[in-house]
Amino acid sequence: MIELEVDLGGLRLKGPVLAASGTFGYGTEVPLLDRSKLAGMVSKGIFLRPRTGTPPARIVETPSGMLNAIGLQGPGVDALIRDYAPLWASWAFPVFVNLNAESIEEYGELTARLDGVPGVAGFEVNISCPNVDQGGMYFGNDPVAAGRVTAAVRRRTKLPVWVKLTPMVTDIGVVARSVEAEGADALCAVNTFVGMSIDLNSRRPRLANRTGGLSGPAIRPLAVHLAHQAARAVRIPVVGVGGIVSAEDALEFLVAGCAAVQVGTATFIDGGAIARVHDGIAAYLASNGFESLEELPRYLPRD
């Protein structure tokens, strides 16, 4: 038996493979998904108030990827606490809530509402949200704003706080360090890349929102690089995410310095993706003579 348990900044997970935010809903949607190997899940991004989301079209397929612009549609924090958290409280894996807001105060308020609610195991702070006070620029694009958001969340909870980094920055290490300094327990790298696709019939963007976030295998080499850069910049653990379909893909992130991984888009295609990735990691470790994931050598040169 290969030991796949992971220590993620003090939190013990039963394996290295989590379900990524926005690709697993609230955990209740898809009956087929094999949950036996799931180490944890991150909820769809939630705001304080309900949001209707963006008009269709919301999805465009691209080569080995997809663009999405869902607009963080969701029921708001009250409905989440009422309808989903009680279910989560009985599940065998921890559920993280993906936090979204348009101001630093709102991030804090959202955290305060959720802190202590049974079923909520921790937080993943999505800083790829437009900062309304700063003209709509993403919080995550600015190391100072990213740090402030982290501090606001940190102040309201003792639960694990993960911060999900955006790839759309000149130097992800700077943001990573800023967020680490403000008390994040772990980083998730990375969120989707901003992309656009043009419909040649209407000669307008295919997405009603004009731009969307690119996910899927297309971004994997970019995500591995960014997760690696983040891991080199900080001491807290990094959760790798972006384009993972197979165990080999996940192992690229793990070798590149990640403590765990999240699988997103792949679960849209294959309900068994997470279990398959989990089992494949175990098989790789076994056939390479490792008895636990901890023994896997990481490639993290400090130069």
């Binding site: 926005g22 690709t23 697993f24 809903g25 949607e29 898809v30 009956p31 087929l32 769809k44 209707t52 989301g53 963006t54 008009p55 269709p56 079209a57 919301r58 999805i59 465009v60 397929e61 691209t62 080569p63 080995s64 990827g65 997809m66 999405n68 869902i70 549609q73 696709s197 419909d199 040649l200 019939n201 295919r206 009603a208 899927g216 295998p217 888009t265 679960t267 849209f268 295609i269 294959d270 309900g271 068994g272």
Partner: protein, 253 residues
């Protein structure tokens, strides 16, 4: 909902460039209801699954009807008998047949014919008379298969049946109207029969309710998921101007 690796066991042409493909997928065939769809995965092939209405489901076989419009459909049509695809389904909520109806019009434009055969069969089993109203650009594009006692045809060029749209060709006095076709056609249906049941098309990420990609704007506000609450809606409940009219080629290579 089942996921199964299903071999292609049937392929026949039913209109110009339009083919029916049959896959051996017993659990899916058994469970499929009128208006539900399956989500097909090709490997090698494009990243996402491709949704198709269940055309017929009988004798452990699920049939779909399609034309090549992009990479996925082209690849499906190049499959050889015995080749396998992953079939996920049945998915979504389909048509609800009221056994109290005497007559039901199945109104379809072009490939909107897709959910009609399975629906016609179910309606007849429920003792409802089926009137088939099928429109296309020209005679060669009309699906040559239909089920039901009466049929009305419509072509844009008048080469078969009445000239004009299928909507105009629906006879008066039917108790129920089910429609499928381009979204603008369904909007026209909504004008005339607010209570009609219509199957809408949207881009889909997952087909299983989790990605929120298949948003259908509701007249009452907010969005539904075509793959879960839909794809069949009461016609008047959809906010038609907010729904993209035509879905186009997207992937490339």
């Amino acid at each position: 909902m089942f996921e199964t690796s299903a071999p292609l066991v049937e392929r026949r042409q039913v209109a110009r460039e339009v083919f029916v493909l049959g896959f051996e997928a017993p659990e899916v065939a058994e469970a499929a209801l009128p208006g539900q769809f399956v989500n097909l995965l090709l490997r090698p092939g494009p990243l996402l699954r491709r949704p198709f209405s269940v055309y017929r489901a009988a004798e452990s076989r699920v049939e779909i009807v399609l034309r090549a419009v992009g990479v996925g459909t082209a690849q499906l049509l190049s499959l050889e008998l015995g080749d396998r695809v992953s079939v996920l389904g049945p998915l979504g909520h389909g048509f609800a047949i009221d056994p109290g109806w005497r007559s039901l019009a199945l109104v379809s434009g072009g490939l909107g014919v897709a959910p009609m055969p399975i629906t016609a069969a179910a309606a007849r089993r429920a003792g409802v008379e089926v009137i088939w109203v099928h429109g296309a650009r020209t005679a060669a594009d009309l699906c040559t298969e239909w089920e039901g006692e009466r049929a009305a045809w419509a072509t844009d060029d008048g080469s078969q049946g009445s000239r004009g749209s299928a909507v105009a060709a629906v006879p008066e006095g039917v108790d129920g109207v089910f429609a499928c076709g381009p979204n603008p056609m369904l909007a026209a249906i909504a004008e005339r029969w607010p209570d009609a049941q219509v199957a809408v098309e949207t881009y889909m990420g997952c087909g299983t309710g989790v990605c929120l990609g298949c948003a259908v704007p509701k007249r009452a506000g907010g969005y539904d998921r075509a793959c879960s609450e839909g794809p069949v809606y009461r016609a008047a409940d959809v906010d038609w101007p907010a729904l993209p009219g035509h879905l186009h080629y997207a992937v490339g290579v």
